[in-house]
């Protein structure tokens, strides 16, 4: 950190990030089974946002506005939220392999969402995201209790996460098999692997506020997260209210994960891999690491969604398949590099 880093440079970086994000959203809206030129995308936006009145094919305009754009925005939010959750969990638990998927938080959120959707828990009072949030918290509670009993070590946390995700995935399968009809079961299994096909504008109304709120809370705690570098006792001696920071950040991470899971299913490896990529690019300071992870996560997820739509012509792959195809090898790489840390 240097004091004389010009404000201009920071503003420039923020602007460049915004441009990158908008460009990625544009490409996300343009690429698909029928490619639509970027200028049509721009004109559609102008029509919708400022009533510019360009003459466009209603079909193109409809595809871009009603399907692809909302989808790309939710993908971006989802990527950011998962990447931020990954940074939080990795820093607080001081564990290079932590992320909401591996720690079973996503699995818990799935179980929560499925319980609401199929079993009708809460009799319509609880919405899917709230069910997912409750499920995520229960899963995190279960996994942390297990990790504490197993000795709190790096390996203990991961093994507890494995146990947690297995348990909650099994619960989800049990509920789906027992209570859902064939049609529901098919739809839910597809959703569980991560799927943005059902995303529409109302989802944007949840995804954007959650991702922005998460980013702001994380940035507010950037220095506190830095202070955890040498562990919780060291953080406490640097004046960090350790317990409060834990509670707030774990809750934010659960809110972000649960909201995204309730919309697009549980998507693995983004929360694990993106923070490591960001660390390689901008270093370990959270003031930079958090926004960089959010941006890279957003762009990666838009790209993964585009790939999932075009890789097999005429068919949409679950996005979780794409992220796992990239994520699993990256996971292996981190594992082999961090051998000494385990």
């Amino acid at each position: 950190m240097t004091a004389d880093r010009p404000i201009l440079l920071l503003a420039g970086a923020a602007f460049a990030a915004l441009v990158l994000l908008v460009a990625a959203l544009g490409v996300g809206a343009a690429v698909g089974e029928t490619a639509i030129p970027l200028d049509i995308v721009a004109k559609t936006l102008a029509n919708r946002l400022w009533q510019a009145g360009y003459a466009l094919e209603p079909i193109d305009e409809g595809i871009i506005w009603n399907y692809r754009l909302s989808r790309a925005i939710v993908a971006a939010c989802c990527g950011s939220a998962l990447a931020l959750s990954g940074v939080i969990l990795q820093s607080l638990l001081r564990n290079a392999l932590a992320d909401p998927y591996i720690l079973g938080i996503s699995a818990g959120a799935s179980t929560g969402a499925v319980s609401i959707a199929i079993l009708g828990f809460g009799a319509g009072l609880l919405t899917l995201p709230i069910g997912a949030f409750i499920g995520a918290l229960i899963a995190f509670g279960f996994v942390s209790a297990l990790a504490v009993r197993a000795g709190r070590g790096t390996g203990a946390i991961i093994l507890a996460g494995v146990a947690g995700s297995q348990l909650f995935n099994a619960l989800t399968s049990f509920i789906v098999t027992k209570a859902a009809n064939a049609e529901q079961a098919r739809a839910i299994m597809f959703w569980l692997l991560g799927n943005l096909s059902g995303v529409r504008w109302p989802d944007v109304g949840l995804a954007v506020p959650v991702a922005l709120f998460g980013l702001l809370v994380c940035l507010w705690h950037a220095r506190a997260l830095d202070a955890f570098t040498f562990g919780t006792e060291s953080a406490a001696s640097l004046g960090i209210p350790v317990r409060r920071v834990y509670v707030v950040l774990i809750a934010v991470s659960a809110v972000m994960t649960a909201s995204m899971v309730s919309m697009v299913g549980s998507i693995g490896f983004v929360g694990l891999v993106i923070p490591h990529v960001a660390r390689m690019l901008v270093g370990v300071r959270h003031g930079l690491l958090l926004p960089a992870s959010a941006l890279i996560g957003a762009i990666f997820m838009i790209a993964a969604d585009v790939l999932s739509r075009i890789i097999i012509p005429g068919q949409v792959l679950p996005i979780g398949v794409i992220t796992a195809l990239f994520g699993a090898p990256a996971f292996a790489l981190i594992l082999s590099q961090r051998r000494s840390a385990l």
Binding site: T229, A236, S237, P241
Partner: protein, 266 residues
């Protein structure tokens, strides 16, 4: 700015670590805490730093219990260097020292030139300025320890608590580090292993044994051959010089009883 402990008790899993420990730290003094392994030095340091809360008794800062001060307010007054704090993050030496500024910076306070200057000075004090860009995991144990001290100095707290600060250091750096700490205008409480260092640098020494303070006073008063034999189980000669300093010379233990030797040979 006075730090004092009154009637501290601390136990872990049914084992009593500290029982009824009281200690007043005088402003500006260098107070050494000595005692054998497991005598409770580290626990006492953690309680005095406010990292842990005593099960009975209280640590007070300016007459108010630590628990009544905010975490950040404590960190601005008490800097604490634990034993062996490690990280796997790829941070540089300088970044590790920069963490010391944390209690002075709010979430939105920008990093300033003054912060940079404080970090520079702390790095120079511990003779690590030339390593400031090195990554943590490439540094030796002694270099890491000096950076922890620099982080505590960058914290600019008037009270400095050090838990065995000279572990891992070679003799040259051990002495220069204690000298450096001594020269600061700080109140220092340090758990020390080396009795001669304690004699050389401390204004007062507290001797711990079995979770209690069994002696407290100036080095010349506390470092008695009989007491050291009782507490550490060693035989020593204590030499005193005209300036009131004292030096400890360890005697080689008596050969082991013949019975044990026979067992070993059989």
């Amino acid at each position: 700015m006075t730090l004092s402990a009154k009637g501290l008790c601390w136990s872990v899993g049914g084992t009593t670590i500290l029982s009824d420990v009281s200690l007043d730290v005088h402003p500006g003094e260098f107070l050494g805490i000595i005692g054998p392994n497991g005598s409770g030095k580290t626990s006492l340091m953690a309680l005095m730093a406010g990292i842990r809360r005593p099960q009975a008794g209280a640590v007070t800062l300016d007459g108010k219990p630590l628990s009544a001060h905010g975490r950040q307010a404590i960190a601005r007054r008490i800097a604490f260097v634990e034993q062996q704090a490690e990280t796997t993050e790829r941070i540089t030496a300088r970044q590790a020292v920069e963490l010391g500024r944390t209690p002075h910076l709010g979430a939105l306070t920008p990093w300033s030139r003054a912060d940079d200057a404080i970090v520079d000075r702390a790095l120079e004090e511990v003779d690590m300025a030339h390593f400031s860009r090195r990554l943590w995991h490439t540094l030796s144990g002694g270099e890491r320890q000096r950076l922890h001290i620099a982080r505590a100095l960058a914290q600019q707290a008037p009270i400095l608590l050090l838990d065995e600060p000279t572990n891992h250091l070679d003799i040259g750096h051990q002495i220069s580090l204690l000298q450096l700490v001594r020269e600061q205008d700080l109140t220092v409480v340090a758990a020390l292993h080396d009795l001669n260092h304690a004699a050389m640098f401390c204004d007062r020494i507290a001797v711990m044994q079995g979770g209690r303070i069994v002696a407290l006073g100036t080095p010349a008063k506390v470092l008695e051959p009989q007491r050291l034999a009782d507490v550490f189980g060693v035989t020593v000669d204590v030499e005193r010089d005209s300036a009131g300093g004292c030096f400890i010379r360890y005697r080689r233990p008596e050969p082991r009883p013949a019975k044990l030797k026979l067992v070993a040979e059989a």
